[in-house]
């Protein structure tokens, strides 16, 4: 057996590699960012090119939570519960200014100032709302994170 034909890896890295090409997002939209998310799933931008088009109606079947929109204090416990219902490994994208920091509504009595106050976030996508290209870039950042098997995710933020 020639040495060049042997690939040495770990099970985790191999699985991560496979996962990175078929992230299954949870069907979950909160505000106008969700409209851009829908556009991303449509024919014009077509995230099925990357293998991410399988939006699951149940958090039990998803491994990617895209927080697409404003998280209010009233919605926050439900977002947290959705995250907790997802099976591991799971990834979170904070899409848009609102999910990142509260956005234009940060000085409001009803809006949470960033979804990372309640759940861990892997990738942040700025924009109000971010264009579909930006969301695709964010999804590819998740892929990159899985490929590099990054323990420290901070440099992807």
């Amino acid at each position: 057996m020639e040495l060049e034909n042997i690939l040495v890896t770990t099970v985790d890295r191999a699985l991560d590699y496979c996962r990175s090409y078929s992230l299954w997002p949870v069907t979950f939209g909160l505000a106008c960012c969700a409209i851009e998310m829908m556009a991303t799933g449509g024919a014009r931008y077509d995230i099925s090119r990357f293998g991410y088009e399988v939006f699951r109606p149940s958090p039990r079947q998803g491994d990617l939570l895209i927080i697409a929109g404003t998280v209010t204090h009233k919605m926050a416990p439900l977002v947290k519960r959705l995250y907790e219902q997802m099976p591991s490994p799971k990834y979170v994208i904070a899409m848009g200014s609102c999910a990142m920091t509260g956005g234009p509504f940060v000085d409001s009595y009803s809006v949470l100032d960033g979804v990372d106050k309640i759940i861990p976030v892997d990738v942040y996508i700025p924009g109000c709302p971010p264009r579909p290209e930006a969301l695709i870039e964010g999804l590819l950042k998740v892929k990159e994170m899985l490929h590099l098997a990054k323990k420290d995710r901070s440099d992807l933020k």
Binding site: H73, K74, A76, D107, S108, Y109, S110, L112, D113, K117, I118
Partner: protein
């Protein structure tokens, strides 16, 4: 019919309990006569449509605002009630307009005004465990995040 004409028509019935606002744009009535006045306006003066129910935080009282409209003449009348800031009591007008139900709940949610006779006075927009009344002038914004994320 102008508000002043309407006021002159109604003032013999309510005497000093009914006053005209300084800008002559609205009627001010005491809380105990509110239901009676609104019933009269609805049944005898064709103001059958409740277009607005809200509140304003004034320096020495909360001001309830009821805006009624006549479908027939397109006239609009607004009726104000001054709510005491310590008792916070106002009469509920759900018996006159069932549409007032959710609007009174919203006013309760934002100002903490208690509506006597309301069938289901609970929070409607804010979370059920919210303790603040955010549209009051005394409301401090930062208190919410501190409290809810602690």
């Amino acid at each position: 019919m102008t508000i002043t004409e309407l006021f002159n028509l109604l003032v013999p019935v309510y005497n000093d309990k009914l006053t005209l606002s300084t800008d002559s744009n609205s009627l001010i009535i005491t809380p105990d006569q509110l239901i009676a006045l609104l019933t009269t306006l609805k049944t005898h003066h064709e103001f059958a449509l409740l277009t607005l129910l809200t509140a304003v935080d004034q320096p020495d009282h909360y001001q309830m605002v009821y805006q009624l409209m006549s479908i027939k003449s397109a006239d609009v009348v607004s009726v104000h009630v001054h709510v005491n800031k310590s008792t916070l009591k106002a009469p509920s007008i759900v018996s006159l307009w069932s549409a007032a139900n959710v609007q009174e709940r919203e006013v309760y949610d934002m100002f903490g005004i208690i509506f006597d006779g309301h069938p289901h006075l609970t929070r409607i927009l804010n979370p059920d465990d919210y303790t603040e009344f955010p549209l009051r002038k005394t409301f401090i914004l930062q208190s919410v995040d501190r409290q809810r994320l602690s």
